[in-house]
Symmetry: C2
Subunit: 595 residues, 2 copies
Amino acid sequence: MTDQLLNERELDFLLYELLDTTALLQRPRYAEHDRAVFDATLQTARGIAAEYFAPHNQKGDQQEPTFDGEKVRLIPETRRAWNAFAEAGFLAAHHDCADGGLQLPEVILRASMAYFNAANIATVAYSFLTIGAANLVKSFADDSLRQRFLPAMLDGRFSGTMALTEPGQGSALGDLRTSARPAADGSYRLFGQKMFISGGDHDLTENIVHMVLARIESAPAGTRGISLFLVPKFLADRTRNDVALAGLLHKMGYRNTTSTVLNFGERDGAVGYLVGEPNKGLAYMFQMMNEARIGVALGASVLAYQSFIHALDYARERPQGRLPGAKDPLVPQVRIVEHVDVRRMLLQQKVYAEGSLALCLYASSLFEDAHTAESADERQAAADLLDLLIPMVKSYPSRYGVIASDIGIQVLGGSGYIREYPLEQYYRDNRLNPIHEGTEGIHGLDLLGRKLDQRDGAGYRQFLALVRTSIDAARDDATCAPLAHALGAALKLLEQATAALREQVAADANLGLANATAYLDLFGRVLVGWLWLRMALIASRALQTGATGGEADFYRGKLQAARYFMDWELAPIEAQARLLINGNRLSHDMQDRWF
Amino acid sequence: MTDQLLNERELDFLLYELLDTTALLQRPRYAEHDRAVFDATLQTARGIAAEYFAPHNQKGDQQEPTFDGEKVRLIPETRRAWNAFAEAGFLAAHHDCADGGLQLPEVILRASMAYFNAANIATVAYSFLTIGAANLVKSFADDSLRQRFLPAMLDGRFSGTMALTEPGQGSALGDLRTSARPAADGSYRLFGQKMFISGGDHDLTENIVHMVLARIESAPAGTRGISLFLVPKFLADRTRNDVALAGLLHKMGYRNTTSTVLNFGERDGAVGYLVGEPNKGLAYMFQMMNEARIGVALGASVLAYQSFIHALDYARERPQGRLPGAKDPLVPQVRIVEHVDVRRMLLQQKVYAEGSLALCLYASSLFEDAHTAESADERQAAADLLDLLIPMVKSYPSRYGVIASDIGIQVLGGSGYIREYPLEQYYRDNRLNPIHEGTEGIHGLDLLGRKLDQRDGAGYRQFLALVRTSIDAARDDATCAPLAHALGAALKLLEQATAALREQVAADANLGLANATAYLDLFGRVLVGWLWLRMALIASRALQTGATGGEADFYRGKLQAARYFMDWELAPIEAQARLLINGNRLSHDMQDRWF
């Protein structure tokens, strides 16, 4: 069984051939760095992931956190991993040097995070959540709050959570009921219950900083009356705040991450500090959404990739059966990678895993550009495009990544189904990703009902132009021309579907949005198809300019995967597009009582 | 949370409207029965399933069997369930009255089994395996063996296993290495290791009867040298046979079924008795395959159905969000079944679950006809058709049933992902079904490489004729005509793909079989599409002849589901068919070193 984490050649390809990550060194923010710093960062991540995270991935699954009514206990390896991550500076790596950070670009840090996800996604979740919570504190808290909490969150003494969901509401945040009552000292007292709070309790850190959405008494109903509070587990005098763990939830996977029900204000109210202005909580959260969604999608991509690596490793080792037409039982069995159908499964995993990883790193580069590109126009363009693409960036890897993990089980057969091999855990862990940070249903509505026409459709027009540019470039390459042709046909279908759906939504919102999830999927396939075309063109050029040996194999694999994507993943959107264009009403018209 | 097991109205529809199960009462074998006996059998199954199986479904998952080096322990509820099943006569229900059975038809027993699968698929697996092992003993063992073992297997004192797989081979049975040495007393001594043997050890019964495939020393290599042996755990003198439990495997689901590694002959050889003639073991097993495969598919269908029931129940109870265009936060939230995308997921579950269940019961009716239809021609025709369809009967419910279980998780969102709700267990249990009794890869090869042209293509021709007859009938019904049209187009694509693939296989077997799994999927969709057309026609006629109230709703649901299937499940085969017709080479040409 392999202990490989991701694939360095693949990451190099994505960072430096598909994306132009070294170009970031030209930007003032990264002028002190060089390519060696980027590479050293990735190597450090890989080393810590291998040493501190991977070894207890299975143990954390099998010995999940327990709560004895007093304390939550995690296996001790979790804390050592947390410490190693913090000591290497990864909690603060994207922050300014002046704030104790490493001032590293987003895309390098995402790629670093990929190693941790590959090694142990449940353990690194505590870090992932803390980074998100710290970003909120940094961006929106006042100086005094920031000084009290941020340094400890950046050096690993405090961890963080995002406390949004309640038992009565999940996706519909506007209906949350946790309330906040102003106290005489300018702080607030919070009352309510939060659910599915990851990392909501544990013994890893001195303190836990909950970023809590709540409604100030007498605030407007709905989304416009939600404020953001910082609610620490321990108060300044080291006494317990009025935040109690009601219990742990028992997940299918991601088991070493505690999933908690938290009661705020069982006694006289949990002390909370308003972050930013009142009633802007949801707006603040949404400003962090893109990062969180790329992060979830990256986790899904990486688990897909690990499933692929393990399936490939098994397929190369395991002898079984003979090829059709060679049934002589005295001839040795072949390794299962020699069976065409096994290669079909591996190809399917490869297009999902590598396509998803490419998508996440591409999205990270847009995120980077939106913040550090030279001109305001470039920054705006990157922000527009990223906003448009986020629904697919979140959904495609979550959906197809899980399928890649599922296929990994199938390649191993019976061995894939038992806990003696890691495949079934990858599946169980990965299955969370289509749920949190927005389901496909939510993202479909967001795409078709909001993102598509945001800023007058600027992101969408930009996307079309980018795809057309790639198609034009690939048309001149004999190897890639058929792929460009396939993508061109798909793009046309996407445009037709988009035009038709815009009219349908305008005529009747509920009916027009009825097939938004199918539209999201169609858009996602075109988007990933575009990345595969770009990867194919790079590969084709590398082969033309003399790549040999293992390098040539690598590029041939990219080309074959791109072809596979166009034939088996992109061509089928035609039927889907037709249903969208014709405004299929079936789900809309279905009645509850007919089920 | 509902405790509903299946849906009686649905089973009635399948047994008495889609299938003509009462017609079986005309056959001499069932002349003593009447419809009331069939119904009472189903009610008994439902009652025992609810009382003895369902209550420990979750407990058996959470407290899986343990092995302390001496004994395997199961939770005690398992034995009570085993006893209740046996005492009600279900182990022997299909056997002749003269042999202590109930002489009940296959399709009624499958429907009964559906209740047990719905309640607790892991616990009833011991019974399922025992029924299969007893069938082998009954069909192929000589009188003396049969008298020694069969009565105890039919009344529940002994249980049975199927011991085929070894660590070195899974799908490729021809390479198994367990050996059998003739002993002086006419019995054999077996040496070797078997793996993934379900029910291979436990404390439920006095004895365990292993049906073991092994190779008699000096037998020919490959599949033609495999014999079938009966190897009891305890010998006649109540001493332990030389069969040792090497250990338990730890599955993702189906946890209350032990999965074992068994060592035969650690000392002087496990005593085994040859069943039937030497070197015919695989042939015997294959005669039992159709039953076993329908049984696995039924389990998959039923878990899909339970996932559907629970998702529907949740969707009807859970308030969340508001419809597009009705965003006033003071208006109450709607139940999530009112969101179109949730109904889309439920419709998808419905077409998979009900379509799969219909397929399994239809296959059972063919199995019945193959054995008890009046004329030899009818029996042969049913056998031909069943043989052809078995790859799809096994694969479609296994594949799409798992997707239905997966969607069930998604409908519940975070609640679907935690063990506090049953959805994630349904998924984990169901995920075994695409693996055992032949993966899709195996069935694709079986279909395209063997079944299609078996008996000169008689089964395939029969299938085409049956589908055409249904299409012709539905064309005259205004409601169903568009569905008939859609199925007609799909059938044409299937025929074109079949013709093209036959040529491709003849030209180059390995290349021609390269996309056999995609062909299997295409065929499966057409097959299930045909069943949906038939169900739609029944529904349409019922509505025309005045069904009202809940009955009308039931039939409208069938119609809507049939439409959904044609649009969203059947129409997309066009792209797939094109790739097959054009002989897509991508997986075939992919090289190991390019991955």
